[in-house]
């Protein structure tokens, strides 16, 4: 027993090392550039793939071939990081946080397809490290010596980072820039060089983390997103910007994982979630994090006023609704199915918009509530034998309850911290659906989620969907112009002043979070019945990003935007999937181009253009 505990402990610490390398890179980059690099998991994955190729080419049997390959892989990932910084990020340092996150997510999509094209869909196994192929006897059990080496890597890198940041001029400049970038520039330091070097360094750390995993586990195309979710948890628990905190949290999460798998293999992630919950209750900014400096009011730009629809807009909305209602008379069943999905996604986007627009809360995990709605319906059908009507009624409550629980934590944070936490929760929901095979069927999903007999005809189901979604969207609109909506906007624009006039900002945000989750659950439940099945992908990160893109495409500042955005985005991406097998790359490229050409968003870009035209000053 004792040796089991000890080996699991050591196992956990070994996996903590890689996690720490990636998390510290992310933390350092965020400190200086204020960008949360979503693509950090992709850099980790690239490190692992490059190492497979390089070590294979250099000869895995010789120590020089193996270790040379590992280090060169890390170095190359650093160079890739520099290219990403110079080509993409440099253009968007002034853009809103959300656009920066989106741009790095575009990179995630592009890297996924590049890795697929270069290394193929099969998992790749790396060689074992020369000199570390044997076992060490610990008490009575055999423990791989490479694991011991990895355990040492964590503190070693921690020490190296400490030396770099405390004892070199570069490190001093990085720490100074983390606090006040502008002042560092005014003292004669070229920030561009500093930012690029920091990004390259952070990327190389991630690449090293990935390359060192080679002898431990298979290299797969899923490493990127599963890693980034874990790293977000580590960074939130450890405190963003604190390297020591990142190490502490990585060890905590790593060890927890190792024991969790041993004791409750099905709910490992729940365990991680519980620890994160406890930490955030006690220390909202993580174990060693500090409260971030308050952003200056107006620094992010003043949000345009949301106004109730004009009679013209109401008329246009009614016309669109009538047009949709007339659709079954004119189009084929296949098209009707697509239209049904479009209407569902419009509600999904509108639910996210309530959080993001009036609420000012960015969610990178809204798919969790959509997926929970879908699973709620499917589980009710499968396990309770419920027909469609009660299943549709019950399902949103599963999403709503999750919204209440997850939201309670999320509203305690703000900005990127909050976005990272929403993503982590979504990943936990996804992993539960994926891992709890007995309940959810795992990757195979749940099949046979069909509507009741009367709703089986495509046209009838379309009308049902249209009725429920239109009513829900109108209710959400109503909410924006209700006292709750006003309080929400007050809290977004000036939390301090809102508190001072008696608004409990956190509570209001919490309510909005839960309502948005509930509405997303309605959309998810309808989606389950329209497809006849549910799969873990419904809760996965790409679906969350779909929702974000819909909202951003339509414009965060408009109430009807998300609905328009949903139609534009789904229409576009469906065409893209048909046109090219590398649709992820194309979509990622489109996102990156969109963000770097219009760093203030489509609507913002348009407004700026109009201002320039009206000022009659073509030169500026």
């Amino acid at each position: 027993m004792l040796d089991l505990i000890l080996t699991q402990m050591l196992n956990g610490m070994a996996s903590a090392s890689s996690l720490f390398l990636v998390a510290s890179g992310l933390s350092i980059i965020f400190g200086v550039t204020r960008i949360v690099n979503f693509a950090h998991g992709s850099l980790y994955m690239l490190g692992a793939y490059l190492a497979v190729t390089l070590v294979g080419a250099f000869g895995p049997a010789s120590p020089l071939g193996f270790w040379g390959g590992i280090l060169l892989a890390a170095f190359l990932v650093g160079l890739i990081g520099i290219v990403i910084e110079v080509v993409i990020l440099r253009r968007i340092y002034q853009a809103p946080e959300l656009f920066q996150l989106l741009a790095t997510f575009g990179v995630v999509l592009m890297v996924q397809d590049i890795a697929l094209a270069v290394w193929g869909p099969e998992d790749r196994l790396g060689p074992r490290a020369p000199g570390f192929k044997s076992f060490v006897m610990i008490l009575d059990s055999r423990f791989p010596s490479y694991e011991l080496f990895l355990i040492a890597v964590g503190p070693l890198v921690l020490g190296l980072l400490w030396f770099l940041f405390r004892r070199t001029r570069w490190g001093t400049l990085v720490r100074a820039a983390t606090q006040d970038r502008e002042m560092v520039g005014a003292l004669g330091v070229d920030q561009r060089l500093l930012f690029t070097s920091v990004f390259g360094f952070g990327a190389a750390l991630a690449g090293l983390g990935g390359a060192l995993q080679l002898p431990r586990e298979a290299v797969t195309l899923h490493m990127d997103l599963s890693t980034i979710a874990e790293v977000f948890v580590v960074v939130v628990v450890g405190g963003l910007g604190s390297v020591g905190g990142a190490y502490l949290a990585a060890v905590l999460i790593g060890v927890l994982h190792a024991f969790g798998i041993l004791i409750f293999p099905k709910i490992t992630l729940v365990l991680v979630f519980l620890v994160m919950a406890v930490v955030l209750i006690v220390k909202p900014y993580g174990l060693m994090g500090r409260k971030p400096a308050a952003t200056l009011p107006g620094a992010a730009g003043i949000e345009p006023l949301l106004t109730p629809a004009t009679p013209g807009a109401k008329l246009a909305g009614l016309a669109a609704l009538l047009l949709l209602a007339a659709a079954p008379l004119a189009v084929s069943d296949a098209w009707l199915l697509t239209l049904t999905e479009l209407v569902i996604f419009a509600l999904f986007a509108a639910s996210l918009h309530v959080m993001m627009g009036p609420g000012g809360m960015a969610s990178f995990g809204h798919a969790a509530y959509f997926g929970l709605g879908a699973y709620g319906a499917a589980l009710a059908v499968k396990w309770l034998g419920a027909p469609m009507e009660p299943a549709l009624l019950l399902a949103p409550f599963l999403a709503g309850i999750a919204g209440i629980v997850f939201g309670w934590f999320c509203v305690r944070l703000s900005g990127v911290y909050m976005a990272m936490l929403t993503l982590a929760f979504a990943q936990i929901a996804w992993a539960t659906a994926f891992q709890w095979v007995e309940l959810t069927g795992g990757d195979n999903g749940i099949l046979g989620v069909w509507p009741s007999a009367w709703a089986v005809p495509k046209a009838v189901f379309f009308y049902l969907t249209l009725a429920i979604c239109a009513a829900s969207v109108l209710l959400l609109r109503r909410l924006v112009f209700s006292p709750l909506g006003y309080a929400l906007r007050a809290g977004r624009d000036s939390p301090l002043r809102a508190e001072a006039i008696g608004i409990d900002v956190m509570r209001v945000q919490w309510a909005a979070f839960a309502i948005a989750a509930f509405a997303a659950g309605i959309a998810g439940a309808l989606f389950a019945f329209s497809k006849g099945s549910v799969f873990p992908t419904y809760l996965a990160i790409p679906r969350s990003v779909d929702a974000l893109l819909m909202v951003l495409l339509g414009g965060v500042q408009t109430v009807s935007g998300p609905v328009v955005g949903a139609f534009a985005y789904i229409g576009l991406s469906e065409q893209l999937v048909k046109l090219t097998p590398y649709w992820r790359f194309t979509l990622g490229l489109a996102i990156v181009l969109l963000v770097s050409l219009f760093p203030r968003g489509l609507v913002g870009g348009f407004l700026a253009w109009r201002d320039r035209r009206d000022a009659g000053d073509p030169a500026r």
């Binding site: 720490r175 100074a176 006040d180 502008e182 005014a186 003292l187 004669g188 500026r620």
Partner: protein, 236 residues
Amino acid sequence: MEPLLDISGLDARYGQAQILRGISLSVGRGEVLALMGRNGAGKSTTMKAVMGLVPPSGGTIRFDGRRIDGREAFEIARLGIGYVPEDRRVFSELTVMENLSVGQRPPRQGAPHWTPERLFALFPNLAAMRDRPGGAMSGGEQQMLTIARTLMGNPRLLLLDEPSEGLAPVIVQAMARTILALKGEGLSILLSEQNLHFAGSVADRAAIIEKGEIRFDGTMAALKADAALRAQYLSV
């Protein structure tokens, strides 16, 4: 001889609001110019525009005969202009020595060369707290540190934004002695100030700014002699 800093017709705006309207000023070599005026008159914005922290929307700025308007802050700093912001902005996580090292630049022709040891002679208080974090210092000590940090860049022109603000009278006197010592080293200084007594003790010339426009530009003696002028623009 041409002035070291020559500002001509400078405009600056924050969004819709125009802050500076056609400012023209010059600082001669080895001269101390006090830019005076009430809160919100445009003193700090003038400094920031010179430093490249606020982009000018019109006019020109020349330093040592070279156009610097539209350049980035780090380039302007490297040309030899040192900026001391009014809110100090010391790096609170960094020690005194580290703060100084951030400002360090190579020696420069025609400017005094500073080392930490020379600066500790100028600011004896700092010498005793080399390893103290900037955040754990008093306001006066932080003000000394910001100036010392900027001097590490060996500037030829120093922009001092309200150096006496919020300091105890005894510290203000020490500050005046420091500025005179720097002038003695051959440094040119543009300082913004509301305190006429303080400005009068260190500056050769004074300019008065009001609502983004220059209303007076002359010798310190002329300003001291003109009670009506002082009452109109400087009295609170």
